[in-house]
Symmetry: C2
């Protein structure tokens, strides 16, 4: 059945085509009510808006002092782009004329700022005007363009207003003239990938293949010899050897992308590159890219990924280190990196549904990514450690403010990640209460999910084509979902008999009134890490459905490393926690060291322990109540 | 019996009065044969000697590039001082005219460099001549003086040559004129403590109390209000708030030293301060200092000390963080800090023998400090982690070269730390093959230890006074040494009946031919950490005698976190490892996860395990053979 796979093109639904309720809907409401406005406020306070306002003086270069309002940054355009994108998605869900007017004002400033030739970059027009295209390796120049393109596409789709889209088309046309293999063109690419996937979005919304071709050019050129970053350094009079990150692995430019087998360097850069590669693979049916991506996917997910879907353990390079090096307390695991993993996983579904990608997409989304935004939508995690001694808390902002708008734009557009539609098939990648509208083979279809997933595994799906039509509905059966059952119009169907790449593929003539019931058991399970992960030795993590659980001091008191799981998960009791939006908590029998040990630091007898109960809550919701210790990997007696 | 304690003054023996054999002797041989010369070579290569050579141009300020030869440092005088001190001790043990001539040449340069007023500092005479005494907080100015004084004292004692001693007396006389509470004097002290303990040494060797008084002035002034560092910053036109270490806790100058109750800041600075305070407490019988030190001692040793005697877990401040925060793999635990803890513990014995201090002195010496020097005396650890994934190795040198000469001078002078002598008592703090010569109440005594300690716990001690004399011999009974036995001239003596503060105190008339046999059982024991040390939860460390043991991949293969102790220590077998200088290894039955787990990163079943044997070797000897993983805290099933 795998032959179905590679010749098809599954594309995500536009955000306005999916209504989202349930857990995702609650997060979207928080974004509409708080985060979207917070992002614009912080952009103003940081000076980003003043930086693009040609009626005000150049902000100049301000040395960062680790304060969110204390420095000018050469990547501020990207933060404005992601904030515009978030606001755009929020406007689909909830009209907000005031917020819309603020974005319109920013767009007007960009219109005034844009050069006659189409160039647009606040830093290189206002702060260092002589330095355009002199250091693509370090200067985030095309990266900024990419985020403004993504913002433009989203804002056009949300409001129908073309101004920013036209600005970014003009800029992209300028990029097409500037970059290429022709005489006088730059044969380069950005040190921080992003523009590749943005150009694919621009191509899809405008129908202009030229933007796809530019994206493909950037992907194809990356890492080829002679290396562009070395050449440009020589041209710029810089020493190519004197590179703060030592090797071009940092930006995945150390070898041609199709030859890369190991996930290396800066985690967000890697995810954005692979996302762009996957888009190009889908659009050009490019098997050589897909093959490289499959190798990289295995490398990441079997050797370098936290159980939360967090990636990139080290702060020093915001990225990858050695295989199986996954420290918990010092985990960097940037929110943006897990967001990027969701992007990549989603795009790996472009050539056909496969739970190999969709399971990880769900895992990274619900854990490593969603942890980045507080329940009220007002505070943010940058790093996402799996253990805290009690001092790690969400920020109001960050001097490098990439994460807040990134998790916000992902969650605000999450409907687009739930489904993939091809000519004769719709794939349901993620479950959650809501409604999707799309066309298959010219027939309009409304697909409605009724479910309390991820809190409950019962999913009722109504499929309502405007007229009877033959197509496939593919429902993801997560690898962990042992014992799932399926009924079509009330009739049991054996999942194994219709399973393709982990999806139950129901191909039939669908008519209004048809419905499917999928029941996914959500019994808690313990996970053990490969023994090569030294930091998790002797420990287990608890999952229920797609959610990683943790213990917090606010429920359990301090001393979380004194808790030992003894495998009695069958006796777990569930309860709903009102302060966490009715999230399902698990109360589990454990052994716990509760002795008053006294003043000695070391002694020859171990601490006494006795039976106790520990409360586990979803990891992504930690630090939403009283501050304190947190722990994912619990000591285990098994 | 405690009333014996506070009115007495126990002073260490001069280094030439103690012959050292056994394990310590082997390390001293390596220092004589390799380290002493290596230190001078590296000082030359780094440019330190050129920096004080007035016949050559000023080295200027070279930006550090993390290379031992790549920068000029304002604390280079201290490295020369410590290297001279090491060479001096090596000359006691083994004459070396070539080495001595090289030091004489350096001393001649210092003589030429010294200002007419007595001032002497390579940096502020040659690199920044206008900046003398402008920033005591950051500039290591008195710290450099202290190390040159220590070098001068040792070199005088070793060779009888007074030149450097006279230079440093002139400089110290200048310091007495410069610092004080009088009109026009600086009421300040150094950001990096050291000069205090050095001045005590100078006072003891010259018999001049004025140097003691200056040391006491520095101790008494520290941390008083108005804070000197703030005042000097204002005078110097600097912002006192703009301090890279944020609070004066970094240099223990946040409050008067007698009010300090918590060990904070830079670990080496703290140890040097407390050492100086303890010397002053002994010399002035100052109970207010002793009381403060006892509180600080408890704070350090019951809340902030690795089982190796390593201290200061964090690289960011080279120092202390939160109570019970003792990460193993990222432990900073600088060699210098454990050396400093040995200094402090030794000086806490100045007011009477007490195993509360001597046990920790031995623990820090044999583990956290001695690990800093390779068996061949040629390479060095700066950080001393308790776990390594295989990439931590000894350096040939370090861009901040404080540790190599520090561990070398400690080991080269270790005889001085083994004994303390008062008017009517000799205390044996450390055991080891060798001979000590001293006077008690005017009677010359030779005390000889015959033992293979720390490899074997049988210690035979001959006490030979030149004529019969009444005095006490106090022998430390380590707190861990359950079941120790004692015989005096062959007659068993019950230790408990004569024990004072953890020492067996044998007071009698001693005559030539008297001997004592002390037998300390060295059965291996497991230690568990206070459960508040989250990093050691579910783990145990193995000790035998004073030595912490570890497992290394070279003996056990990789995957050391798959080893689980199950408490069967009674079945431990000992063997001697030739490549480690006949060190005693322990082969212990364990349970080990040996399964070939496969490619999955996470799964629902734990790794399979089976019975095995693991080889443990002394921690301080790790990384002397094939490189690889190392682990101290082993998973424990108890």
């Amino acid at each position: 059945m795998n032959m179905l796979k590679k010749d098809r093109q599954f594309r995500p639904l536009p955000v306005p085509s999916v209504d989202v309720h349930g857990l995702f809907g609650e997060r979207q409401d928080a974004i509409c009510d708080s985060t979207a406005e917070t992002l614009l406020d912080r952009c103003v306070e940081a000076g980003m808006v003043a930086a693009i306002d040609t009626s005000r003086p150049s902000p100049g270069i301000v040395i960062p002092i680790q304060s969110w309002s204390g420095s000018t940054q050469m990547f501020w355009d990207s933060d404005l782009g992601k904030s515009i994108e978030t606001v755009a998605y929020s406007l689909y869900r909830k009209a907000n004329p005031k917020l819309e007017a603020r974005v319109d004002e920013i767009i007007d400033m960009y219109e005034k700022l844009q050069d006659e030739d189409g160039y647009l970059n606040a830093w290189f027009q206002r702060v260092q005007p002589g330095r355009r295209w002199t250091n693509l390796r370090d200067h985030h120049e095309l990266y900024c363009a990419g985020h403004l393109i993504e913002g433009a596409v989203a804002y056009f789709q949300a409001t129908g207003k073309r101004k920013l889209l036209d600005i970014m088309c003009r800029y992209s046309d300028y990029l097409i003239r500037t970059f290429g293999r022709g005489e006088g063109q730059l044969r380069g690419y950005c040190g921080h990938e992003e523009v590749e996937l943005a150009l694919v979005k621009l191509a899809r919304v405008t129908g202009q293949k030229k933007y796809l071709d530019l994206a493909k050019f950037f992907v194809d050129e990356r890492g080829t010899e002679p290396n562009f970053f070395t050449e440009e350094a020589i041209r710029d009079g810089r020493s190519a050897e004197d590179y703060h990150q030592k090797t071009y692995e940092y930006g995945q430019a150390h070898e041609p992308v199709r030859e890369q087998k190991k996930v290396v360097g800066h985690a967000v850069r890697a995810m954005y590159l692979y996302s762009g590669m996957a888009d190009i693979a889908t659009e050009y049916s490019d098997d050589s890219l897909t093959n490289a991506l499959e190798t990289l996917w295995d490398d990441l997910t079997t050797k370098q990924m936290y159980v939360t879907g967090g990636i990139g353990p080290a702060a020093s390079n915001e990225g990858f280190t050695d295989y199986y090096d996954l420290p918990n307390e010092s985990a960097y695991a940037e929110t943006c990196a897990s967001v990027g993993l969701v992007f990549w996983a989603n795009r790996m579904l472009g050539r056909g549904p496969n739970r190999r990608y969709a399971d990880i997409m769900e895992q990274a989304l619900y854990n490593g990514a969603m942890s980045g935004l507080s329940l009220d939508g007002k505070t943010f995690f940058y790093e996402n450690p799996l253990e805290s001694a009690g001092k790690h808390h969400r920020w109001v902002w960050h001097h490098c403010p990439c994460c807040p708008p990134n998790i916000a734009r992902l969650l605000a557009s999450i409907g687009s990640y739930m489904y993939g539609v091809a000519e004769d098939e719709v794939a349901v990648h993620l479950y959650g209460e809501g409604k999707a509208r799309f066309e298959i083979g010219g027939t309009g279809v409304v697909l409605t999910q009724q479910t309390r997933y991820p809190w409950n595994g019962a999913i009722h799906i109504d499929i309502a084509p405007e007229k009877p039509a033959r197509f496939a509905v593919s429902l993801r059966i997560p690898e962990w979902a042992d014992g799932s059952t399926l009924k079509v119009n009330g009739e049991p169907v054996e999942i194994a008999s219709i399973e393709v790449d982990g999806y139950a593929r129901i191909e039939r003539e669908w008519k209004s009134g048809d419905h499917v019931d999928l029941d996914i058991p959500l019994a808690p399970r313990t996970l053990f890490a490969n023994p090569l992960v030294r930091q998790d030795a002797g420990r287990a993590a608890l999952m229920r459905g797609p959610l990683v659980y943790c213990v917090e001091a606010t429920d359990n008191g301090p001393g979380l490393n004194g808790i030992r799981l003894d495998g009695k998960l069958a006796n777990a009791r569930t309860s709903e926690i009102v302060e966490l939006g009715d999230a399902v908590a698990l109360d589990i029998p454990v052994v716990r060291e509760t002795e008053n040990w006294g003043a000695t630091l070391y002694r020859t007898t171990p601490p006494a322990a006795k039976e106790a109960t520990a409360r586990f809550v979803p990891y992504h919701l930690w630090d939403n109540r009283a501050p304190g210790e947190m722990l994912v990997w619990i000591r285990s007696e098994k």
